[in-house]
Amino acid sequence: MVDFIKRDKDDIYAKPILGFLFKNQKFIMTLKIVVAFIFFYAIYFGFTHQGKDNTFTWAVFWGIFWSLFMVVTLPTLGRVFCGICPHGFLGKYITKFGLKKKMPKWMQNQYIGVFILVIGWWGIYYMFPGIYRTPFGTAMMFLVMTILAFIIYFIYRDMSYCKYICPIGTLTRAYAKLSFTWLGSYKSACNECKTFECATACQHNLKPFTFDGRNSMTDCTLCMDCSAACEAISFKVKKPSFSLFSKFQILKAEVWTFILILAAIPISMAFHHGLGRSKVASDMIWAKTAEYFKGFIDFGSVDAVGLFAFLYAMLFTIIAATLGMYIASKILQKDYKKTFYDLGYSYAPLFILGSIAHSLESFFTRGYDRIIEGFAFGFGFGKVDIASLASRGDKWLAVFGILKWIAIIWALIILYKRMKLIDSTKLRKTLAFPFAALLVIFFLGVNSYRSYILDTYGRASRGTHGSHSSHAMKSTDSNHSKNINILSKSTKPLDTVYFSDKKPTPVSRMGHSGAHMMGTRDRSKVPSKKVWLVTDPLDDTKCVHNTIGKFFATDIDNNLVEVKLNQKSCTSISFKMPKSGYYKVYYLLETPHSINVAKYEYKRFDHSAEAIYEKEKMSAKTIQEIPFDILQLRAEDETFYSRPHSGDVLKFKVIKNGVAQSGVNISLTTQFGWQKNLKTDANGIAKIQLIQDYLPKWNKFNKRFKENFLVVATYTEDSKKYKASFSGIFTPPREAYSSYSYGFVITLIIIILLSGAIYLYRYRLQKPFKEVHFDD
């Protein structure tokens, strides 16, 4: 035993505040007493207030202890949860006065605790959802566990309850391996030690001075009794999960804890709560199995779907783990069991980090307020109403999503490091790696599949959240229809009508002009576009309703496709754009004396490899259904990326009944009112150079501003009037906002300045030769 030791820099005991928190025995004692008091008070409270108004019991057990405090501290600080656990705290005193019997061999089995947790708690949880949710159920369970714990403490020695029976004992022991803290000792002092105070002080009968050498803290619960007994005990900050990077005595139950907990919590949850809440929940295998068995067995109040989701999760997870490891062991030419348990430690981060994400998210969305409210209620402050820190769907909560990825990467790193410890060739190790990582891949796959299903098929609407949003939708809908009634009007056969991709909406009402209808952003769906048939000038568009004309739409191969026509009060048409290319929409109103056509063309492309701009395929084409058509001819260097700018020359070709028509009146009007009129030439082509009339103040300038233009072609032949419209957009040219001269000048100035500075610097370094005279 030593009274003083010079502590290393990374020793937490040497740190100003942390050192106090972890080392000061009076503080630790006070903390343990407070925690024990809250624990028993919460149990008592659960029995006296069995109604729903008892938020206190929930707050203590399900708000703080499990899972928030435990999962947050386990992979960071380590088993500090055990350090302040009321069972262990009181158990120490009970053991002292107890019978001190040796625990029988069959009970010295870590699997007991693991199975109580996985089957007794999670299995029951999925079978009877809600059983532990009542304050009474919670209090009863914890009371039973407490009595059981105290009896075992009383009979057996060495805190055997913590080691073998406690449902979370093995779990904490296993996951604490990820933490960055380490209880060890200073070798310099321990080498000369003959008294072993640390070991005698330990109620768990452990030998802290051997922890460093064994590279394992075994069953240490960080109760800090040893650090009070001897100064040579250190509590250091290390690299997270560093002990997993080198060899130590493996404990099979730990590996099985990782696998079973992963199956019981994240995988089962993804099955039952994630996929189970999608619109295709009934197609999932567990739902079908449950349905099948319901024909034979009466499940009563058991949630059969939950039970089978749990069982399937177990099955799949265990298969993924064992099969992967089996193949890996064959590749490595090693004993299967040894490989399995050696590499199995790499599964550690998967559950715990994902769980942190979940716990923190629920803490911010509903845990925080319920904990405060619960404590206020429990300690007689009455009912208070606290706002939660965040609401569901807040964008920043996605931050926690990163933890899942960290978990996967971390697991792969541990696997890599543990793979290094195995004695085999590099090639075999490389080949075995993906198989050993099968469970990690499975975990990734389940998560991806879950988000894929939820993105593709959506959540089944139920609960308060869904109804709320649908309500919101309704109110905006009614807003829209109001606006539309004011804006829409019916047209005469020869009024100019054209398509717009913006819904005509007055600025004053909606705050900003037009909803963004750039096609849907959802990546899982086929992009679609919606256009409205409108009339009147470009800066004051009005919807058209009661149209009697026909609508046509074509796909990229110029084939007619069916489209969704919406004729309510504002005529709109939406079409799907599955591939990259040009899509066209036509409106045709034919009377004996007139033909009126509106045309819209949209170039859709994605960045995929299939998007190839073939000139022939992409050229402007008409369709035979349209007797009078305007084609916008492609520019020479047209690609998917090109877009007309001010200053570009646009070429339009007018086709009447399939033949190019000369002498057609063409007028192009821009959004700001500039207009150009001319006639088509002998080839039926009219060339118009776009001017730049978007000239806002500099601070309002938007280089992606889309200015609309409208081309109208009119022609009269044998007293039959032809009219066609074509709408499009153009943007400011590069020259409007970028300056070469400034760029060149700045670069040149800097080059000259730098060169000058370097020249001067070097010039000064050169010291001219100088004769030095020494006076004698």
């Binding site: 906002y737 970028s738 760029g743 080059i751």
Partner: protein, 328 residues
């Protein structure tokens, strides 16, 4: 036979080999588009996508765009694409390790040519002193943070979308590489927004720095290159490795003297076997300059493919001609 090949490689004139290989890769990456070569968007060198004829785009460009997705999308299944392009990047990288910098990077090659030009003019080059070296080498990690964190902040909604390609806007490769296919459009300042002005002028300032810096300092920009930092993070996984046998090293300092990146460890460190440092561009000049048998060697999956040899050193230094001169 194998012995002959080994002898040939170990006695090769690395400078010539490197010159031609660099020239090849320069032409390949800058003009590859004319031959319709497209290696994708995950190339681990500054073969900039702003050059429309590039044979493969620098990985940072798609990376920044991918990371700038809204976080709900980024942390969902949709991001498998991010993962796959990262894996493709890693696959490219793993084979050649940092030799990408020393042999394939067009910007690195350009700097080497500027250095030769300076040599031709007879102007001496500069070096950093120890303190400058230590503080300046951190800059590349700051750039790497810009590459990775800025898009994430955009996805979170904390930063305007204008910052999406913040590093690309500041990168001299954006300005310089398109020049070689006659596109000078990047030599301009974008006045459309304040952010755009800021970023585009930074790009030009760095371009000016690039030219002046690489003129007086060998491989000036590589010192600040975030791709180099990115490489270093994954260099342990690479197949090609630069190894040193400390017992055979005499600390003569030849390797340090030829090192463009001023890496002291190459001469000083006799402990580590893996001698690749974050600044290293794996140009292998050190191996060619090493006069000791086997002290430095390049391994491909633990098989040495290029070793330092006494004979090779003597041949490269043209010792025989010197000796003849001394004799006469």
């Amino acid at each position: 036979m194998i012995k002959k090949i080994k002898h040939f490689i170990n006695y090769a004139d690395l400078r010539k080999f490197r010159f031609w290989l660099q020239l090849f890769f320069f032409v390949f990456f800058i003009y590859g588009g004319y031959l319709a070569i497209d290696l994708g968007r995950e190339i681990p060198v500054f073969s900039c996508g702003y050059n429309h004829e590039t044979a493969g785009t620098c990985y940072f460009m798609p990376l920044q765009h991918q990371l700038a997705r809204p976080w709900e999308t980024l942390f969902s299944a949709a991001s498998i694409g991010v993962l796959t392009s990262f894996l493709v990047f890693l696959l490219w990288f793993i084979v050649f390790n940092k030799a990408w910098c020393g042999y394939a990077c067009p910007m690195g090659t350009l700097q080497d040519w500027i250095t030769s030009f300076r040599k031709f003019l007879g102007i001496p080059y500069s070096t950093y002193n120890d303190t400058q070296y230590k503080s300046l080498k951190k800059i590349k990690y700051i750039f790497l943070i810009i590459v990775i964190i800025f898009p994430l902040l955009i996805g979170l909604g904390l930063l305007d979308g204008e910052w999406r390609g913040a590093f690309c806007d500041m990168c001299p490769a954006r300005v310089i590489t398109p020049m070689f296919v006659g596109d000078f459009s990047q030599w301009s300042i974008d006045f459309s927004t304040k952010t755009a002005i800021f970023l585009s002028s930074f790009g030009l300032i760095f371009t000016a720095l690039f030219f002046v810096g690489s003129f007086i300092k060998k491989r000036f920009f590589c010192f600040f290159c975030p791709m180099s930092a990115m490489h270093y993070i994954f260099s342990d996984t690479a197949l090609l490795k630069l190894k040193k046998d400390g017992d055979k090293c005499t600390k003569c300092g030849d390797c340090y003297n030829v090192c463009d990146m001023q890496i002291k460890d190459i001469a000083d460190d006799v402990q580590s076997t893996n001698i690749l440092r974050d600044d290293c561009i794996l140009c292998l000049k050190c191996v060619a300059a090493c006069p000791e048998d086997d002290a430095l060697h390049v391994d491909l999956v633990n098989y040495p493919i290029f070793k330092s040899t006494k004979g090779g050193f003597a041949k490269r230094m043209e010792m025989d001609t010197w000796e003849k001169k001394n004799d006469s």
